[in-house]
Symmetry: C2
DNA sequence: GGCAAACTATATCGCTTGATATAAATCTTA
DNA sequence: TAAGATTTATATCAAGCGATATAGTTTGCC
């Protein structure tokens, strides 16, 4: 298992740097092209290493893909994950509908912010969304540690807003749709931007209309409430 | 251009049948695997023809892909397309918000029904959604003749519901999100079903929770209205 | 029957892919 | 400096890809 050659002597640092370069290049190329279309040669070239380096550090293409998934999960947990725990604790203590509403808005804000963290953030989002639709080798990890927790906390907050003790099927569905709409807006962002542009709207290509989408979602949250 | 050898003698009917079999097999395999991952060999095998038959009828892989796109558009136009024209005419004549609301519900109902027309309907949906996110060779056709008209009529109906003369940026955005949520629910259907199942909900695998999703969307439409 | 047109199948080409055998380079340690 | 572990690069393999040259088969028409 060469992927955890960690606590060794200082010159092996160069090796770890190469490993990190490969991982970063892989994240970008897998995120853009998907598992099947991405080639190990292109990744190696982008990372500035030769082809067998991938085998040396990650065994094979799938190993590299899984390493990318774990990297994404780690980044997610250190960002949104902690906040989710915080919200869960608050829910445990009991929340008013109004409080739940503002928590939910913040959750969705942070979820959408994931796609704007840095330059490659949207590629990581693409990685996750592709894996959710195509269910490749990294699906289980991403579903269990990333997708499910986000939707579940959303469902619980919605239930709270609607005055229910625990989320029923309707709350779960509404949570799914909320995340689905944000996801789809991300993955079809070029199309959405084109549509808005054709209609004469000017959306900043920087944030890709994501904040506008967020406004719509917040309005939806505002309209939630006791039936 | 051998793809329109149509008005010839009767025995060429067999040829047309082969052409149709190739097209159907291609729709299923392209819809499931996408352009890059699908192979002409597998399509030929599924259609029960030999490999050069694809070249004979569709010139090459991309020609076959485009033929699939046009087939999808044709099917869409004879279904939803006519209804969109009908709604557009009604809008021209002036609609009350309540009328617009029920038209909008019917539009979304028909859009979601597209994924349940027949056994291969979800594969066609997958074809379209993949092309919207990856922007392959068939993007222009599908956007112009299928995606844009559906979103636009939705935006106009939303504007009408909200008492506006013509759709502003907010209406366009809301229309986009409405379709995005339905699309994402379709393309991540296995994930959504798993989530609901894990939560103890029983969703019919037949319709894949789409009618439940539609219920949520109708509730959203009901909550629209003058600010 | 024979002939031209429409259609189909076999076999193969050139290319790219993931993987890896092999050997060289680098650096620590003794 | 010699030994040895760690890391890197060259060259190559078998498999699968899209494409197609070539030849065979069917079938309506005269």
């Amino acid at each position: 298992m060469p992927s955890q050659a960690s606590l060794t002597s200082p010159p092996q640092v160069r090796g770890q740097e190469a490993q990190a370069r490969i991982l970063q290049a892989a994240l970008r190329i897998f995120g853009r092209d998907g598992f099947a279309l991405a080639t190990t040669r292109r990744i190696a070239e982008a990372a500035g290493v030769s082809l067998p380096a991938i085998k040396y550090y990650f065994e094979n293409k799938e190993g590299l893909y899984m390493a990318c998934a774990h990297e994404i999960v780690a980044r997610y947990e250190e960002g949104l994950g902690n906040y989710i725990d915080e919200v869960a604790a608050a829910l445990e203590g009991g929340l008013s509908p109004a409080q739940a509403r503002s928590y939910l808005k913040e959750v969705m804000r942070r979820v959408s912010a994931i796609s704007n963290d840095d330059a490659d953030a949207d590629l990581r989002t693409g990685f996750v969304l592709r894996e959710m639709t195509e269910q490749g080798p990294a699906f289980e990890v991403l579903y269990k540690d990333l997708w499910q927790p986000g939707v579940e906390i959303t469902a619980q907050l919605i239930a709270c807003i609607e005055g229910k003790a625990s989320p029923d099927e309707a709350a779960h569905l509404e949570a799914l749709m909320l995340h689905a709409s944000l996801s789809a807006f991300s993955s079809t962002r070029p199309v959405s931007l084109r549509y808005l542009r054709d209609g004469g709207c000017k959306a900043s290509p920087r944030e890709g209309g994501l904040t506008s989408a967020l406004t719509v979602i917040e309005a939806q949250i505002d309209r939630m409430g006791p039936a």
